[in-house]
């Protein structure tokens, strides 16, 4: 099965009943597969919208009817979605956005892989906010993490992003599809509670449109009733701080990762397609003194995991961008952080990573 198809199947297994999208290489197979599958599923709806702005708007609208709702796109479409992604953050709308990354900026390299949107996903819309972003490195993870994304979206009432890339999206591998996947729906809004009054975890209960509750939904700064209140500094500060902290405070709970060889001196930190090359080097070639941290959750960044390597001399960060996450890692550690940046569309080769370890002082 192809990565993009596995992502669509993971969404369906999680009970996704709304897909609004606009086809764009290299994500098109996600929409194509949903268009084939959804008309046969009772209560499910597939709409090809007129563009990506409309797509994300439809996804947000469908989410407010209580549907598990998603879209899939790539760089240029992702850029178009940015404004409404901020709206989904501000209105605390649970939804899933799949981004099969290609080379940018602009229309760039439609058919080639990249990881250049990994900062845009966190910072691309205006204002302060936090989101959750997951990165698959196999076809199995495309299935598993897409299904998981819906649970995180519902639990934290936030857009959740599957940040895959062309390599993983178009690769075919055998996967195991479980009989059922875990489903965590949003906390219900208690009787008499205000719709944006946070629980102890900072997340409000959720009541869908049409369930008899009065729920104003606005992108403006709002009070706990959902009414606009745009000139009160304290109101804005407490709202935005809550939107950030409900996710950042749970970062170690949200963290999904693998660690191999905590005793390593040269530690790769990786996510997405480069994980495959890292695993080849560490597990198959058994390069001495090396280990890795694979991040399936990229945002919120689980910086505590970096302290799990007591003997580390350098973190080596292979990315298909010019060192975006390397800079984030650098903020949290005192040892050198060495980016292995590769753009142009090809995945890092094992030799390139072996060279990077040598350059860092390893293999002497």
């Amino acid at each position: 099965m192809q990565g993009n198809i596995a992502s669509a199947e993971g969404a369906l297994a999680a009970g996704c009943t709304f897909f609004g999208g606009y086809p764009i290489t290299p994500s098109t197979e996600v929409a194509e597969h949903m268009a084939t599958r959804m008309p046969k599923i009772k209560g499910a709806c597939f709409i090809q919208m007129e563009d990506e702005i409309a797509s994300i708007a439809a996804v947000i609208g469908a989410a407010w009817t209580g549907a598990r709702s998603m879209t899939a796109t790539s760089g240029p479409g992702f850029s178009l979605m940015m404004e409404n992604i901020g709206y989904a953050v501000m209105t605390e709308t649970p939804c899933v956005i799949v981004n099969i990354q290609r080379g940018g900026p602009s229309t760039g390299q439609p058919t080639m892989a990249a990881q250049g949107d990994i900062m845009q996903v966190k910072f691309g819309s205006h204002g302060d906010y936090s989101i959750i972003a997951l990165a698959p490195s196999s076809v199995q993870e495309c299935f598993d993490l897409t299904a998981k994304a819906f649970n995180l979206a519902d639990r934290f009432r936030t857009p959740v992003f599957l940040m895959a890339d062309e390599v993983i999206g178009h690769m075919r591998e055998k996967i195991e599809i479980p009989d059922s996947v875990e489903i965590v729906r949003p906390k219900p809004l208690p009787e008499g509670a205000l719709p944006f009054a946070p629980g102890p975890d900072g997340v409000s209960g959720f009541a869908a449109f049409g369930t008899g509750r009065h729920i104003p939904v606005t992108g403006l700064t709002h009070d706990e009733r959902g009414y606009p209140d745009t000139t009160n500094p304290a109101r804005h500060e407490s709202l935005v701080r809550r939107l950030v902290s409900k996710i950042e405070d749970a970062r170690h709970d949200i963290a999904d990762y693998s660690i191999v060889n905590e005793e390593a001196e040269y530690v790769f930190v990786c996510y997405g397609a480069p994980v495959r090359t890292v695993r080849e080097v560490v597990e198959r070639l058994r390069l001495p003194d090396t280990g890795y941290l694979q991040l399936r959750t990229v945002w919120p960044f689980p910086e505590g995991l970096l302290s799990r390597f007591p003997k580390v001399k350098a973190f080596i960060v292979p990315e298909m961008n010019l060192g975006m996450m390397a800079r984030e890692i650098e903020r949290h550690v005192s040892v050198p952080v060495i980016p292995v940046s590769k753009i142009g569309g090809d995945l890092h080769t094992p030799e390139e990573l072996v060279e990077a370890v040598k350059a860092a002082g390893g293999l002497l």
């Binding site: 439609p110 062309e166 690769m171 591998e173 090359t277 695993r279 597990e283």
Partner: protein, 179 residues
């Protein structure tokens, strides 16, 4: 045992489908691990097309084929772009009428397109003939696994045609190998 197989030809010959069928045969019916990748681009239609499969008894980590031990080449341009420098112990299956050059490694000539047209009346199954030849000229995939994967993958109503193509390929794989 690990095999890296590269397919190449021109867009429209079913180069990518061939790799998908082979990967499926290995992963689902030969109980191996398999990863299929391709050169993915708009230039593939009519131009040189390439796809690849890694088959292994162990999980496959780095997913890209880099040093194939097996080639299936179905056009001269595909040979020039993707088949020119095989390793010495590689085996290359060539569509003998469409590829004019011959490699330095062991090669097996399969008149797949000619046979598809002449023996089966449908040029479109040439890729299935090449796949059939792969089961007798190499050890990368078993005949029964390939047969099941073909039946999974081809449109309804074309099963007989495709199985005939596979069997013709198996014959040609033996003949070509002994010549």
């Amino acid at each position: 045992m690990r095999h890296e197989i590269r397919f190449s030809g021109f867009g429209g010959q079913g180069i990518i489908l061939s790799a998908v069928i082979l990967g499926r045969a290995a992963a689902l019916y030969d109980q191996k691990y398999a990863v299929q990748t391709q050169v993915y681009g708009p230039e593939a239609r009519g131009g040189a097309s390439m796809s690849a499969v890694i088959i292994d008894d162990e999980p496959i980590l780095f997913p890209k084929v880099r040093d194939p031990d097996t080639y299936v080449i179905m056009s001269q341009q595909g040979f020039e772009k993707y088949g020119k420098s095989p390793r010495d112990d590689a085996v290359m299956l060539l569509d003998s009428d469409l590829v004019h050059d011959r490699p330095s490694c062991t090669w097996v000539g399969i008149p797949a397109t000619l046979s598809a047209k002449k023996d089966l009346g449908r040029e479109i199954v040439a890729n299935i003939i090449m796949l059939g030849a792969l089961t007798t000229a190499t050890t990368v995939v078993s005949g029964p696994a390939l047969e099941k994967a073909i039946l999974d993958s081809v449109p309804k109503g074309t099963e007989d045609l495709n199985l005939k193509a596979m069997r013709r390929g198996q014959e040609l794989g033996i003949e070509g190998g002994s010549s």
